[in-house]
Symmetry: C2
Subunit: 343 residues, 2 copies
DNA sequence: TCGCATTCTCAAACCGCTTTGGATGCGGGC
DNA sequence: GCCCGCATCCAAAGCGGTTTGAGAATGCGA
């Protein structure tokens, strides 16, 4: 609907070639002409048609994000919003478009090759990798740059990823609770076929065994990370014959659920029972203030989005820059939700 | 990177024209030929290049979503994720791509005309409309179908929107509390330059005045809807000389904050103090069960996304189908957070 | 004044698809 | 036998840009 290059050229009495080169900064065009062209372009609100441009150049100038929505649970992980906000920032600055596909996880494979075969994107961001995730091999065979937010555990070939150190993070958190004298420590985890959750569990188990504590299956749960899940975990585990004195939560949302569970049981967080949660620093669930409400392993998923986007763009511009990987450490921030074991 | 139409045609000994028509279901092609083409296409994993196709047809087969992120607060409204999940479902079924732009609200205007001038999208979904929102007029002048999720209050010309009945919703909620004997009712609102928040406030005020209750500025707040905001509102308002006996919350997140505030004051929800909240039915904050935790004005934002997407696609396919509008009613669901005024 | 190297500009091909306007071959009615 | 209509297929012209390979204009030295 906008002005076309041809029209602009005609209005200036120049050829499309010259106008194109003028706008794209090629050296072989007179400085005065270039200025004249630039002025006319902004005046006419000329923007090159993306589709035409990318057809001609062969680059789509777009990155695809495929968000899986589990068909069984229909849950949209709230961290996507912040991650995407971070990534989006970087893309627009770099002149890239973000194209988003929401797919039921069953259709995911076809979503990728559809996206690629159609030439719609130059690169792909893979969300929510599972422990065994066929997508990595699928994408590796497809000859397009891609990057995982997270990792997967069954792939030997190198690939690009950005992840937080879930293992160390939960190892440290567990160790911290142990150092406070806790021995009955519960893990309220996300679904453990998700790679991040699986790593957290390993970190937790290693810390326990390092301290000679036998893991108790009654104290380990996994589920979709909703608030009521946290609530039920608190309620039910606290009624065990030998209840936990501390909890590890996989997200702030779950931690809120735990907190509500305790408060309904008349238990005070940080005194009667301790909680360490992972905190993705979602913008609407800030865990800050003079003393943050929760002791947390903290890492901004928004920042992760920014970094992941930058890495992926680098892979797109220079496909041979090799697999890029980044492991972000979390910080363990002391809040009001932890205290020494009382008994 | 995939097979091109030309290659496919060559491999079949046919012209590109025929192959194109065969695949697109034109009648002037022999049934046997068509089958042959189809078979070859699936075998070669042929997908038409989106950019080329849309260049040729003039339709982008894409819808743009512009998500404003307030520069001052850097808050990403969590409802976007669910709304977009709903819309995305509809788009993929209809063969449309969703392209997402995250923009600081200052740059929003330019984001729109950039998107359009580049011919990147066939339609635009407008998020988070404010009471006075220049975007509607801007878009109206741009000759592209668009639809607001929400409304704006300062525009006289008709435009397409899908909204929930915020006014009636909060009017009913307030009335419900009044019927329970509450007279000191607090409103913990979102930012009131947002249109939805402004309408909720009006509904609230009208119900109060209908009952002859003088609104008290001390009982009305507005801010970005975070959990700590709810917490502080509860803490501070309950320490007023004449504290409220009931609260209206603008979102589940705020309601959780309120709840935590009360519980820290030793007050029990539904007995000592009542809360009615709006519930967008976010997937990770379900308010259900035998007796939902909160009495709530309930409306699925996921479903809103689906409907809005369908409406927008209709506007795209038939631009003359006139401004489309839909006002979704919320249901007032009774939960455990409300009870008769005690004093 | 001419020749030649520099600048600057342009015509045309191309990216991968759709679509218009024929072309071809065949059978049937007259 | 001729002409027409129908069923199939195709060549070529776009869509709106970029890019290659030249051509025109200019400046300079000889």
């Amino acid at each position: 609907m906008g002005v076309t290059l041809k029209q602009l050229a005609a209005s200036l009495g120049l050829s499309p070639t010259t106008v194109s080169r003028a706008l794209n900064g090629f050296p072989e065009v007179n400085a005065a002409t270039r200025e004249r062209v630039r002025a006319a372009a902004t005046k006419a609100n000329y923007h090159p048609n993306t589709r035409a441009k990318s057809l001609a150049t062969g680059r789509a100038q777009a990155i695809g994000h495929v968000i899986p929505v589990s068909t069984s649970h229909e849950i949209v992980n709230p961290i996507f919003a912040d991650f995407i906000a971070g990534a989006g920032e970087v893309y627009s600055r770099a002149g890239y478009e973000m194209i988003l596909r929401i797919v039921a996880d069953a259709d995911e494979a076809s979503a990728y090759d559809n996206l690629i075969a159609r030439g719609a994107v130059d690169g792909i961001m893979v969300h929510g990798p599972r422990v065994h995730d066929p997508r990595v091999e699928l994408l590796a065979g497809l000859d397009i740059p891609f990057l995982l937010h997270g990792r997967t555990s069954n792939v030997t070939a190198p690939y690009s990823w950005l992840d937080i150190n879930n293992h160390r993070s939960f190892h440290r958190a567990t160790q911290f609770l142990i150092d406070f004298g806790h021995r009955r420590i519960a893990l309220v985890n996300g679904l453990e076929d998700m790679d991040f959750a699986s790593r957290r569990r390993k970190g937790y188990l290693e810390a326990l065994s390092g301290a000679g504590i036998e893991p108790d299956p009654m104290l380990m749960r996994q589920a979709e990370m909703t608030e009521p899940y946290g609530y039920r975990a608190a309620q039910e585990m606290m009624q065990l014959p030998d209840p936990p004195t501390a909890f590890l939560a996989s997200s702030m949302i779950v931690a809120y659920g735990l907190r509500r569970g305790f408060s309904d049981l008349g238990l005070k967080l940080g005194r009667d029972v301790s909680v360490v949660t992972h905190d993705d620093e979602l913008s609407y669930l800030p865990n800050d203030g003079d003393v943050p409400m929760f002791t947390a392993t903290q890492s901004s998923v928004r920042e992760a989005g920014r970094r992941a986007a930058r890495m992926l763009l680098q892979l797109v511009t220079d496909p041979d820059c090799g697999p890029l990987t980044e492991l972000m450490e979390t910080s363990l921030v002391l809040g009001a939700s932890t205290g020494p074991a009382s008994r």
